[in-house]
Symmetry: none
């Protein structure tokens, strides 16, 4: 057992929570320190700088999302529509916990940071991983003749993801209007219909 049970993971999580609820420049290292319950020096033993911490928080969240999406499908599932429904549910479930992940994901706070090229590269990889999971299912559907090849599968994946995100975002805002499940079903509807092979 280590002297302290504060792990790097704990810090990432705590910092993540703060960063999802306030803009970068309002999340001070002192607030992080306090939330995590460690000294300032400890923070800097794990992360080179605030920027480094920030980038790694994002990467951590993305890793979890990718992990969750890449979990195997239940064994009896094999039509693309059902697979997409499952992936959508995982995705939306994730958003519901991490409402602001996208703000982070796309945050331009870090633009131009010299030393962070490598981390930024990893962000892109993870984003691609997310897209790829959807893209693969879609390509399968095209190959099976279930979907039209009219829209390239990578673009189709982007479109579908965009609908899901936009939906969960507006669901987050106007709870009255549409709930998550409703949105998923409508996005699936538009997608399935939109990709339908013309007879």
């Amino acid at each position: 057992m280590s002297k302290s049970n504060v792990t790097l993971e704990n810090i990432l999580e705590a910092a993540g929570e703060l960063l999802m609820n306030s803009p970068y420049h309002k999340v001070t290292m002192d607030k992080v320190r306090e939330k995590v319950g460690v000294g300032k020096g400890t923070l800097y033993r794990h992360f080179d700088s605030k920027e480094d911490l920030y980038c790694k928080v994002v990467l951590n969240e993305l890793d979890r999302l990718v992990e969750s999406l890449q979990e195997n499908f239940p064994p009896d599932i094999d039509d693309p529509a059902t697979k997409l429904r499952i992936l959508s549910e995982r995705m939306v479930g994730f958003f519901e916990q991490k409402r602001s992940l996208f703000a982070l994901l796309r945050s331009e706070e870090i633009r131009g940071s010299q030393a962070k090229k490598r981390l930024f590269q990893k962000w892109k990889e993870r984003r691609n991983d997310v897209v790829k999971v959807f893209e693969n299912v879609i390509r399968e559907g095209i190959d099976e003749g279930a979907y039209s090849p009219e829209i390239p599968p990578d673009l189709a994946a982007h479109f579908f993801l965009a609908m899901l995100k936009s939906g969960s975002r507006s669901a987050g805002r106007n709870k009255a209007d549409h709930n998550g499940a409703f949105i998923v079903s409508k996005a699936l509807f538009m997608f399935e219909n939109g990709m339908k092979q013309d007879d």
Copy 2:
């Protein structure tokens, strides 16, 4: 004529350019002052605070987008598909100039700002205006029987906008893959197909 021909509009534009290219916390009032070519005091005669300036920059950009979208259609146009194509082109044209508007739009920089409720409210109004323009065309299509009523028109508008945005974003990144026009046409394809009234 005033001693200086620097208008509020000039400031909003200059600040907008800076804010689209660097994160909020790296855009100092001094840089804005310098770019606009006025004294610091003058900035503060026009805007209560940096946050106020920021919010008004965003609002200004949104106003222009809304204006552009609300321009009348050419007189001979009346089918929803063509209207959507025209709106899409306006939207994408706008994005191509103001690549980073979305970063601003959705920026969480300002979250929780006490005094800015009113401005934030206006943001929402403008965003709604954007959605409404699309929603109205879609509702028309449903009323005419061109589109299925399966998806509520506001949600359908969100979906369509999301596809456009996601498309232009990825177009910005991987120029090789898909250009703007291609993406618009594919988004329209998915939408038209997806909303098609089942026979």
Copy 3:
């Protein structure tokens, strides 16, 4: 009349006083700020960094020393011995006010500072100016045949300055032993004797 009557000169003087009485790392910018009676930002409007301030303090003191040494001799003076006595008195008078200037001069605090090459160059120039004043008088003496050419005049100047400094330093420490005037006279004695042309 300016809004504040705090000038760059005032800052240099105040900072100089602090730096002569405490080591660099114990002189905080806050202490300087407090002593000068300005805000921290004002300090940084005048100096790029603490290091910059430090270098300019030293340069300022050196400038005054050089000025003082370069003042004309009284018109009726023309033998080198008397000139050296006058210079010695100016030098020792300076040290008595600025006891710790040498600590600053030779301080290794700054070694290796990247951006300060230019200032460091100026330090060397001023030091050379000091040596040159003595060297010129000595060379004159050699030319007139009053001094032996055995020791090159630049080295002789270094030797003489070293005696003066070492003397004033020890005078500063053991006041009981030898006072400034006594030391000057003895240093002059050794120099005059040591440089005497053998008959």
Copy 4:
């Protein structure tokens, strides 16, 4: 034999090397620890604080200098001029290895340190030891009638030491101009001449 063969002496030496090449505030305990190859705790078992370490490093260097100076003269030597030459060579030899010892010696870094009075006292003692070695030879010379009693032997010792130091310093800087041996010989020349008993 202890588990580690790192002795106090090793630490003093390693720290000395660092302190001669960077200013006090840039030599961190971590760098010392790393260079010595021990844990931080071990450093603090040997030294109360960084200041304590620093003081003891200086003292250690001074001890070696004093040792070196106090070594007996070769048996057949007995005129003061030759003795001074030998001492000068030892001194200059020392400087050539420990170029920056003087920076340390005279460093004002520590001024005012409360707890270090005792160590500071020891510094003074060592410095006096250095002076005394020269002073004794000079006094001998005066007693023998070789040197004039005009300049008190302690002051004469200070003067001579100052010339040596100043010379080695400038030798260090302008290698082209004068080398160590040349300077020693000229300093000796000035001293011998300057102290010569008038006939």
